[in-house]
């Protein structure tokens, strides 16, 4: 709702600013994530949430208390939390006999659940379990997806998009080369997804591009896909819709060839060849039509 359409007016400037910050924007802010625990979350799930929070920090909110809710049955409480903390990404962790070590990864559009995928954690190694140096907080990770399943299966495609949305961090115009320190590698293999987090070590290679060595940093998780709740095609399309003003207008008649030379095509009106200036010769000079016959009639008499 735009500022002037709000029925209740904010009473102070501060609250007005607060509300304006949450309004839909042309160029959107970084998506925030909220990490929630269900009624019965075990140690694994809790630690996994904490580790993901550590990766996702400053753009995440970790809920400390239990929230007895089931995202696949009733999404209202999730939507309420999303509205409260203005988060559009969420992970809900729970543990029960039927679905042990459960993480529900999802995203919202307009404070309603768009996609939701339930992942079972088969194997978990925490950030603290691996005694290695970590990368600094808020590092933009490089994301790599390996496996043909990420392109063939519809669920995996959406899951890939969800992972990218979740972990990519702020969209930046430029990046410091030495600051590329963190890699998140997702491998789809044997019906499982292996998420690994590595610290990048740049070694000398003898040429400009460095040689890469990886050091496991944690957390590492092995996921299996359980239930899914994917947005319908038209809703997904609607959520992808860009505002008209952001779209770049295509410049007509300008092209570039392989060498980078720019060519322009110019449209001109048809040239009037009747007015074309040619060489001036006396004999071709136009004379008034009246003079012509008179002079020719006189000339023979003169000769």
């Amino acid at each position: 709702m735009a500022a002037l359409e709000r029925v209740l007016k904010p009473k102070t400037k501060r609250s007005k600013r607060f509300l304006e910050k949450r309004e839909p924007k042309l160029v959107e802010n970084v998506k925030n994530a909220m990490l929630l625990k269900g009624g019965n979350a075990n140690c694994t799930v809790t630690q996994a949430l904490k580790d993901i929070y550590a990766l996702k920090k400053p753009y995440a909110v970790l809920y400390k208390k239990k929230n007895i809710t089931r995202p696949f049955e009733d999404q209202t409480s999730l939507e309420f939390f999303a509205k409260k903390s203005d988060c559009s990404l969420f992970i809900f962790g729970s543990h029960n006999k039927k679905r042990p070590n459960n993480l529900v990864l999802g995203r919202m559009f307009d404070y309603h659940v768009l996609d939701m995928i339930e992942l079972g954690v088969e194997n978990f190694v925490s950030l603290n379990d691996i005694k290695n140096s970590k990368c600094p907080e808020g590092t933009k990770p490089m994301l790599i997806f390996a496996g043909d399943a990420f392109e063939s299966s519809e669920d995996y495609k959406r899951l890939k998009s969800l992972f990218i949305d979740f972990f990519r961090g702020p969209a930046v115009p430029c990046v410091r080369l030495a600051g590329l320190e963190h890699v998140l590698h997702f491998t789809a293999l044997n019906g499982k997804i292996f998420m690994r987090s590595y610290k990048v070590l740049l070694k000398k290679s003898g040429c400009r591009t460095p040689r890469i060595e990886l050091e496991e940093m944690g957390p590492s998780l092995d996921f299996t896909v359980r239930r899914t709740h994917l947005a319908s095609d038209d809703l997904y399309k609607l959520s992808l819709k860009q505002p008209k003003t952001l779209k770049q207008k295509k410049k007509k008649n300008i092209s570039q060839d392989t060498f980078g030379t720019t060519y322009g095509r110019i449209h001109m009106q048809k040239q009037d060849l009747g007015k074309l200036q040619t060489r001036k010769v006396k004999g071709l000079k136009k004379r008034p039509a009246m003079d012509g016959p008179e002079s020719s009639s006189k000339k023979p008499r003169h000769v």
Binding site: P24, M142, L177
Partner: protein
């Protein structure tokens, strides 16, 4: 020690270069897809399950190393620049489109004033934020706290010649301000309602405005019912009619209590059932009697009218006369009538 020849040096350099290139090249069956704007790479090659079974996590790390090396190679290809002692690369636009968090903002529909201003070509003019205060002799803000020429800060107001001398002019100013604020709020809400596609309700006429008879009647009816007892104990005004179209509610006798009345009612009912002769409904009987009388009167009148003259049957052609003949065929008296009818017809022809 002999100095190495030129060829030797070149060969060594070539070898070193090949070695270093070998360090950063990774062989893949299918090329990776990159989205450098998101620092993203996609490896479409299926991972080898047998290798994974043999080596486990080490295989995953080797795979990740190769892919990362390829992504880094791509990133180092992007032209870099120096910004404050650090080397940065300008990332290209991200290719991958991700869903938005919220729908794009809509343009606010114009308010009623804006519509009117556009129609009339009224343009906004920017006023300066400060204004000259004559009384204070200084520049002050135009609005808000300590504003210039503040009308509410006047210590003396002249009472107009036409005004009531006992009226508080200060209170009047305050009241006027409050009303303006309230009006503005109302307009704002009406604009919101209009932007939502709901037409705002018609404005309430100010007290004392002329109203039609129907409107007054409606208002009276509403006010009559607007009591705690829904107008049950409201007396009618002199010469006031009961409003039409207002249904009466059925009232039932109390279930308990008045035993005598109940006994009476039951006995009456029993008596009615027990009676041998049919019960006389006075109104029905009276109506029946009246109808019979009327019919009788009509019949006798008809008979008499037909006997007197055929003038009653005006404008009827020969068909009508024939019909009369046919119908009144038998009976002696009627035969006489027949002749008369004929005369009537003749009269008509004379006319």
């Amino acid at each position: 020690m002999a100095t190495p020849g030129v060829e030797e040096l070149l060969a060594r350099a070539e070898q070193e270069e090949a070695l270093s290139l070998r360090q950063i090249t990774v062989h893949k069956e299918l090329d990776l897809e990159y989205d450098l704007g998101n620092l993203l790479a996609m490896d479409p090659n299926p991972p080898e399950a047998s290798e994974f079974r043999r080596h486990g996590g080490d295989y995953l790390r080797a795979l990740a190393r190769g892919n990362t090396q390829l992504l880094i190679n791509q990133l180092w290809q992007v032209p870099s620049e120096r910004v404050e002692e650090t080397v940065v690369v300008r990332l290209p636009e991200a290719n991958l489109r991700l869903p938005r968090e919220k729908p794009p903002p809509r343009a606010r529909p114009p308010t009623r004033w804006e519509q009117f201003a556009k129609l009339k070509g009224i343009r906004k003019r920017k006023k300066s934020n400060i204004a000259w205060d004559e009384a204070q002799g200084e520049w002050r803000r135009r609005w808000g706290y300590k504003r210039a020429n503040d009308p509410t800060k006047k210590w003396l107001i002249e009472v107009p010649a036409t005004a009531d001398p006992n009226e508080d002019q200060f209170a009047k100013l305050l009241q006027a301000k409050k009303e303006r604020v309230a009006k503005n709020e109302l307009q704002r809400l009406r604009n919101i309602a209009r932007s939502q596609g709901r037409e705002p309700p018609a404005p309430v006429p100010p007290p004392g405005a002329p109203r039609s008879r129907a409107q007054l009647g409606k208002e009276l009816q509403v006010t009559r019912r607007s009591t705690a007892s829904v107008g049950r104990f409201q007396a009618l005004l002199p010469r006031e009619k009961e409003p039409r179209g207002v249904g009466k509610k059925r009232r039932f006798q109390p279930l308990l209590g008045d035993m005598a009345a109940e006994k009476q009612r039951q006995l009456e009912l029993l008596g009615a059932l027990n009676r041998k002769e049919p019960r006389l409904d006075v109104t029905r009987a009276a109506n029946k009697q009246l109808r019979e009388d009327e019919q009788e009167a009509a019949r006798s009148k008809k008979r008499r009218g037909a006997g007197r003259a055929g003038t009653g049957k005006k404008g009827k052609g020969p068909g009508g006369a024939r019909a009369g003949k046919k119908g009144k065929g038998p009976g002696g008296i009627r035969a006489g009538k027949k002749g008369k009818g004929r005369t009537g017809k003749r009269n008509k022809q004379e006319h």
